[in-house]
Symmetry: C2
Subunit: 384 residues, 2 copies
Amino acid sequence: MNRLSLTQEFSVPYKYEVFFTENLFEKENTLFKDFIVNFGNKDYQKKVLFVVDEFVAKSHKNLTSQIVAYFNHENFAELMPEILVLEGGENCKNDPRYYEEVIRAINEHGIDRHSFVACIGGGALLDMVGYAAGISHRGVKLIRIPTTVLSQNDSGVGVKNAVNYLGKKNFLGTFAPPVAVFNDMQFLESLGERDLRGGLAEAIKVALIKDIEFFKWIIAHIEELIAGNKRVMQEQIFRCAQLHLQHIASGDPFETGSARPLDFGHWAAHKLEYLSDFQIRHGEAVAIGICLDTLYSYLKGYISQKEAEGVVYLFQDLGFATFHSALAENDKINLFNGLNEFREHLGGQLTITLLEKIGKGFEVHEIDFDLMKKAVDLLEELSQ
Amino acid sequence: MNRLSLTQEFSVPYKYEVFFTENLFEKENTLFKDFIVNFGNKDYQKKVLFVVDEFVAKSHKNLTSQIVAYFNHENFAELMPEILVLEGGENCKNDPRYYEEVIRAINEHGIDRHSFVACIGGGALLDMVGYAAGISHRGVKLIRIPTTVLSQNDSGVGVKNAVNYLGKKNFLGTFAPPVAVFNDMQFLESLGERDLRGGLAEAIKVALIKDIEFFKWIIAHIEELIAGNKRVMQEQIFRCAQLHLQHIASGDPFETGSARPLDFGHWAAHKLEYLSDFQIRHGEAVAIGICLDTLYSYLKGYISQKEAEGVVYLFQDLGFATFHSALAENDKINLFNGLNEFREHLGGQLTITLLEKIGKGFEVHEIDFDLMKKAVDLLEELSQ
Ligand SMILES: NC(=O)c1ccc[n+]([C@@H]2O[C@H](COP(=O)([O-])OP(=O)(O)OC[C@H]3O[C@@H](n4cnc5c(N)ncnc54)[C@H](O)[C@@H]3O)[C@@H](O)[C@H]2O)c1
Ligand SMILES: NC(=O)c1ccc[n+]([C@@H]2O[C@H](COP(=O)([O-])OP(=O)(O)OC[C@H]3O[C@@H](n4cnc5c(N)ncnc54)[C@H](O)[C@@H]3O)[C@@H](O)[C@H]2O)c1
Ligand SMILES: [Zn+2]
Ligand SMILES: [Zn+2]
């Protein structure tokens, strides 16, 4: 009896679409309605609970009444009478009361595993609401409607959600793909300069590790990107989202291994967000993190000084600050604690992505602290 | 631009083994060690954090010291110095402080996605610890070591975990398969009569809906099962676990549809657990729930009166109470609220499994309340 065993083996398929559109809730735009109607059981009247980012609601004053009108128009699904408007930004991931509030609403409105929670907001709100939806009834259906450049080109199209806990970024979370993503360009118009710019950091990230042509394209369109040119911004978002999606599907979607190339520049970024008490945003922190790991790639001899500096200058041309004083505090020990936390979060070996060349990332499992300190110093110099 | 979209599609594979053994942590038994050593990256020193059911620790006094000795013996992995001993039973799923405590320990001991949380306990503790492990870092590795009949033959081998929330059973949870399950017969020896018996309800459940031979086998072994005969108990657990595993793998493991045949008898069971303030255990509630839906199947004309009564008498022969006063309270309205909660939890259409014949379940989407009231009355009669 000692070696008796049964083996369990199965695969779980996932499929979702990322739509690119404008004016999602104008009556003429049937994209959202068509999706809901055609999803799953057609005979069953579906419920939709909306959660909206406060800043989005403030700057698109007609949004909630537009949603109500959109549902009234054809009565294709049951809109929950309560539309939750919640503070967006990192605070909604830091304070458990926010996801508890979403869970309360899921319960009160009887949102079940065949009903939808539709979240309209930045990456932080999407992460938090996705977490609440992911653990309620072991997962109710999530529709993401990202409203920042970063969430449209990166976080909103992926499979992860999370909240911060015990002072650690994304400590609690689940892998829970959405059932659909609607990227509506219209929302980006109310973004401030910082958030328009912030998302470009993730585009540069994915370009640097995966696609030199896209990197060159970004450099060729700096002016339009700064100005928020709609057509160029749209192309940037589409290409970046595509690279992210391809990467997730071709790799290890639920990250059972240690590899996480899409986290290029993120070990320092995550730590910086905390060290700055979330005064710098995710994209801004990622910009600095990329510069750091790019310079380290140069100091390690993988890429040339010119190439590395070119990356730093690109960020600066786009208006990013490429240094933050917290990087150097406490003789960089605070920063380096981030390496260990990053390893713990991923698990297993430390795995850091560096640049083999522009357009191609690769992984290392050790970081030379002295050299990384030099990279910090070099970055400080280049940023003066 | 209006219909531009990208489609994301991938599958996530899962695989785990359910081992049947005795004296798992005796030095000579290398099953556990072999599993850890061969799992994933062999070069990486793995951490294991244990969480143990208080009743198990109390009745197997040497357990923790045996675990320490087992790890010291060959140093195949890093045992976390703190072995959490937590209250088992439904209360650990009702009170959020328990999973918060597990998450605290996961954080403090730096358990990462390549480290293990090993839980030794009944179905309730396994569910709660599985939930804590499932949301920490989006899922650290879970090893289940079930210590009740019910958890060895049913809950412990499956893919679900959960805690209760907002007064609702399993309201929060995730689908998160374990990396391994170790069913150690030795643990069952300290079980009280109620828990030895309770697990048999799940065996009868799966037999009734899937395997008439197994059903006949149970009837032929009533005496040995009551007496806790080791060989017979082991066979019961093995066959039942096998049926559960097959069912999960052949169907819809993460329950994206509405079908849940394994929940035969459970709509009433879940409600009864609450109505009795958890004075009756899951298996005991399931026994009553099965009797109810079996009688309803008879009243609907699917099975004969004799077959239906035979099921009730089988439970009675095994020592189960087949009625509970809460079933009839408030003119059965309390009970029927459970139907709606059950639908909500599953989502979509109400889906209830009935018996087409002994050994074969099938699904209906409507319940005739008057007839169900009759089934309650009939069950009360038969139980006097
Ligand atoms: N899940 C993932 O895979 C993943 C990947 C990358 C980043 N993230 C997370 O995403 C978050 C960052 O997201 P973000 O960059 O979108 O920032 P954000 O969500 O923090 O939003 C920034 C600010 O802009 C506001 N805002 C959002 N949309 C607006 C609009 N259209 N008009 C005006 N104001 C608007 C928000 O209320 C907030 O105050 C971080 O928490 C990060 O960890 C997650
Ligand atoms: N995840 C699933 O798929 C699934 C399926 C079925 C049931 N469940 C859940 O499982 C739970 C019931 O599990 P259970 O029947 O194992 O009961 P339990 O976990 O509630 O345990 C009953 C009692 O026995 C004690 N105990 C456990 N092992 C013991 C041992 N070896 N010796 C002495 N005492 C011991 C416990 O401390 C507890 O007090 C319910 O919460 C139910 O919802 C989950
Ligand atoms: Zn990022
Ligand atoms: Zn059960």
